[in-house]
Symmetry: C2
Subunit: 550 residues, 2 copies
Amino acid sequence: MSVLRITPLGGLGEVGKNLTVYELDDEIVVVDAGLAFPRDEHLGVDLVLPDFSYLRDRAAKVRAVLITHAHEDHVGALPYLMRDVRVPEIWATKLTLGLLQSKLDEHGLLHAADLREAVPEDGAVQIGSFRVEFVRMAHSVPDTVAILLEAGGRRVLHTGDYKLDHTPVDGLRTDVGKLAEIGNRGVDLLLGDSTNAERPGVTGSERLVGEAFRQIIPVREGRVLVASFASNVHRMQQAVDVAVETGRKVCVIGRSMRKNLNIARNLGYLEAPDDTFIRPPELEELAPHEAMILCTGSQGEPMSALTRIAYHDHPAVTLERGDTVILSAKPVPGNELRVHDTINRLAKAGAEVLHQEIAPVHVSGHGNAEEIRTILGLVRPKGVMPVHGEFRMLAAHAKLAQESGVPAGSIVLAENGSVVELDERGPRIVERVETGVTFVDGLGVGDVRDVALRDRRHLSEHGVLIVVATIGANGGRSSGEPELIARGFGETEPLVAEMRSEAAQVLAECLEQDITEIKLLQEHIHDSLAQLVYDRTGRRPMILPVIVEV
Amino acid sequence: MSVLRITPLGGLGEVGKNLTVYELDDEIVVVDAGLAFPRDEHLGVDLVLPDFSYLRDRAAKVRAVLITHAHEDHVGALPYLMRDVRVPEIWATKLTLGLLQSKLDEHGLLHAADLREAVPEDGAVQIGSFRVEFVRMAHSVPDTVAILLEAGGRRVLHTGDYKLDHTPVDGLRTDVGKLAEIGNRGVDLLLGDSTNAERPGVTGSERLVGEAFRQIIPVREGRVLVASFASNVHRMQQAVDVAVETGRKVCVIGRSMRKNLNIARNLGYLEAPDDTFIRPPELEELAPHEAMILCTGSQGEPMSALTRIAYHDHPAVTLERGDTVILSAKPVPGNELRVHDTINRLAKAGAEVLHQEIAPVHVSGHGNAEEIRTILGLVRPKGVMPVHGEFRMLAAHAKLAQESGVPAGSIVLAENGSVVELDERGPRIVERVETGVTFVDGLGVGDVRDVALRDRRHLSEHGVLIVVATIGANGGRSSGEPELIARGFGETEPLVAEMRSEAAQVLAECLEQDITEIKLLQEHIHDSLAQLVYDRTGRRPMILPVIVEV
C-alpha cells in the first residue's frame, strides 16, 4: 500500500525558509516555499533559500505548491523554485495570490504560473491523489490558512503560522469550529507552528495594538510615524482608522508598503475613505498634527524609509521635535543593534520613539503555549510533528503535545531533511536526505558556497596580505624585492619592511636549495610570513603569495 | 576663579567604555576607565577602548583614577590607560581592588599601581584639590559605589551603575540615607546611570532570582548548571546557597569564574562551607542530583565553558537528558543569536533550558525610571547630566530629571568629547574635543583604524580578486596571460576565463595607446573588471591589480 512521506526541506531548527514536501508514490505536493534572511556569518549573502535538490531530483512528480500565507519565510523562495522545477499549480488565498502575483511579475515569472485561488469556505479541492482543504487562521497578515491534506488514507493538518485571535481586526478569526470538526473526522498527524511554544499563556489580540494607537495618537501634536512590516495589513488598517478618526491624512512611504497597501485596498482587505491618502510632496502643505506617515524600516534595514528618515536622508520627510515615531514591530533576532541605532537617531532628531520594549505597540503573530494546547485539544491528533521553529521551540511544542495526551512514540522531532513516513502505526523518521542551503548573492543563486563564505570570514577577521615575488626563468634568482600589498590588516611601515625582507630571504634560501616548484615556494613564503605576522601582531590575515616567473 | 570641567571620553551615546575626566586647573581625576566589546562592524577587533589622546595631552595633570565597580565597561581599559599615562593613584573598594589586582597582574602592571582602598564608611579623602566621598550602591557586582566629588566650590555626584535594591543579597543596600544627606548639603550636578531610564517601574531585587532558584532547583533530579556573568558574585552566592540546602556539591567551570569566585571567597564576599566545592574530575563520582555546575558562557561566547558544553566539547562535563541549565543573564544586545544557538544546542543535548524569556532567572543591575526618580528626589541636584547609555536612554533620563523639577537649562545632554563647564550658573557645554575609539586587535592597540575596518568590510562582502599581469621592461607587451586569484568571491570557471581575457585585452589596448604608467594600468584593469564582474554577478569584490615589470 502507498505510504505518505513528509520531508521538510526548511523551517525546522530555524525560523525561516519553510518548505515541506508531501509525497505519495509519484505525486508531490509542496506546502510553502519560503526564504530566510542571512545571519551574520553569511557575509555578503542577500538571501538564503532551501536546497531544492530533493525536488529537482523528483521534478516530474511535483503537482502543486500550496502557500499558507504571504510572508517571505513562506513564499519568498517560490520564484527561485520555479526556475528549477516546473510547478503546475500554485494554490493560495486571494490576498496571498495578489501579493504573490506582484512578486512573480518582478521575477518575470507571472506567465509561467497557474495561480488557483484557495477559498476556505468552498470545501475540498482535489490535486492528483491529494484531497486538500483550507482552514482560516488568524496571523499577522490577513488571509492566512492552515492546510488539511488527505492522501493514502491518512489525514494531516499543516497549521502554517497562526494565533488564536478571537477578535481579529478583519473579523476573520481562526476557524475553531472547522478545526474541531476536522478533529472529529480524525487527524493522523499535526504539523504545527512552534514559534512561541516556549512562551506561557496567550498572545495578545492584534486589536490591543489598535487600542494603544488610540491612546497614543490623539494626544500628539506633531507628526506621527508608524513603522511596521509591509505585509501587516491589519496593523496598517488600525493606524489608518485612528488617522481618519483624528483628522490626519496618511502618507505611505517605502516601495513595498505602498505596493502592499494598494494591493490590499484593491482586493478589499484595507478600507479607508478615498481622501485619506496623500502623496509625499503634499506632506509639506499639512500642519504636523494633520499628518500620519506609514513606513517600512521597523527592522532598521539600511535602505528602508525609516532608516533614511532617521539619518536625515529622506527627500520627503524630516523629523522635528514634537514628532512621534511608533515602532510597531519587534526586532527579529539579530536585528537588535540596527533597530537600537535607528531609535537613537530618531530620538536625536527630537522625536519621541515608542517601541515594544516600553509601550504596547506590538503583538506577536504566533500563538503561545495555551493556544497550542487549544489547537491540540480541538484537533486531537494521533501524532504531532512540531515545525516552524528553532530546536528549543520544537522541543517545547513536543512537550505540550505529550502533556495533551499524544503518546511520546507518535511525536516526531524531525530536522530539515528528515523523511517521515506516516502509516497506520503513526509517524516515523525512516531516512535522512541531504539538505543544505542555497545562497542568493547579487545575481548568483547557488554559486557562493561554504568555501567562499569561509574565505570571506577569514578575510573579514584580519584582511589580506598579498606577496608578489619574481623568480628567473629557470629557477634563478630575480632582481627586485617582493612586492607586498596589505588590505584590512592594519599594517605599519616597519612591519611591511620586515615582511618584505623575510619574503625575500625565504625565497633566496629556497632557490639556493633548488626548491623552484611554484607551489612549494608559495608554501614556504606563506608559512614564514604567517608566523612572523602572528608573532608581531597576534593576527592571522589571509596570506596569498604569487610567484611570477620572468 | 577656577572652573570645574567635566569631559566624558566614553559611555555617552553607547553602553560601554565609561570614562569621565574631572579637571580643575592643573589637576585631573578620572572616574572609571572602561572598555567596550566590538560590534558586528568592528570586524576582527577584540576590544574597543576610549581614545586616550585628551588624557595623553594632559598626562602631567592626572592625579588619580577612581573606579566605581569591577565591570569591564568601567575598569577594563585601565591597564591600557596605564600604558599611556602615569596614574599616580587608583581608588576602589576592596572587592573591586581584588578583581583589579588580578587584571593588572595579567598585564604585568601590578608593580606600577598604587592601589588605595575606598571605604564608604570612612568619610572623605582628599586627592589634590578634589575632596572625594564614596557612597554604597547596589548593583550586579558587590562593593559598587557612587562618587561624590567636591572641587572649585562645586559638588558633583557621579552615581556609577546602580539599582535601588532594598533587599540585596549581601545586605549592603544603596545608601539612601547618605544620598539624602548629600542632597541636604546641595549637589550642583548629578551624573547618573541612564541604562534603564526608558523602562517604567522598578527593577526586581536580586533576591527574586534566589527565590526562582529555590523553586527550580530542589525538584530537579539531574544535574543543574547555572550560567551567569563571572562577576555576579551575588548570583553565585544564591546558587551556592541553594546547592548547599539541597545537598549538591558545586563545581565551578571557566577560568574567569573560578578566579573571581576565589577572590570573592578570600575577601569574604562569598560564603560557603569548605566542602561545598569540588573539582571538575570529581563530578564523575557524583550522582546527577548531587551536582551543581556554575559556569561562564551566558552570552554564548564562542570559547566559554557553556558553549563548549553545549557543543559536546568540554573535557569534564557532558549533558544528559534530565539535566537543567539555567541561563541566569540577559543577552547583551548583539549577542541574541549566539545565545539562542547555545540554548538550541543544550536543548538538543536533552537538557531543559530555563532562560530569562521564559523564567524569572535574571534581574537587571540597573534601576528603572522610578528608581531614577527616587535618586533625583533624594539628591535634589541643581543640574543633571545623564551618562551611561545610548542616546534614547540619556533622553529618557533627561525627561525624568525635568519632571522632577530640574530646570531644562540645567540638564545637559552631552556626548563623548563634550567639555562641560560647571560654574555658579550651572552646567554648560563649552567645547567639543576629538574623541574616537581605539581598537585592540591581537597584540596591537590602535594600529587597526577605520580604513582597515573599511577594507575588512569590503573584503567580507564579496571577497577579493587579484590580477597579476606582466609587462615588458620598456612598456612592451609581455607573453603570458594575466594570472587571477579569487578568494571569497564564488567564482565559476567560465567567469574566471572571461575576466582573464578581459584583463589581457585591457592591458594590450593600454600598451597600444602607450599607457605604461603602472598606476594607470592598474586603474584601467580595475575599472573594466569591476564592471564586468558586476554585470555578470551583481557583486563588488575588492579588485587588486598587480603589474609586474619583467
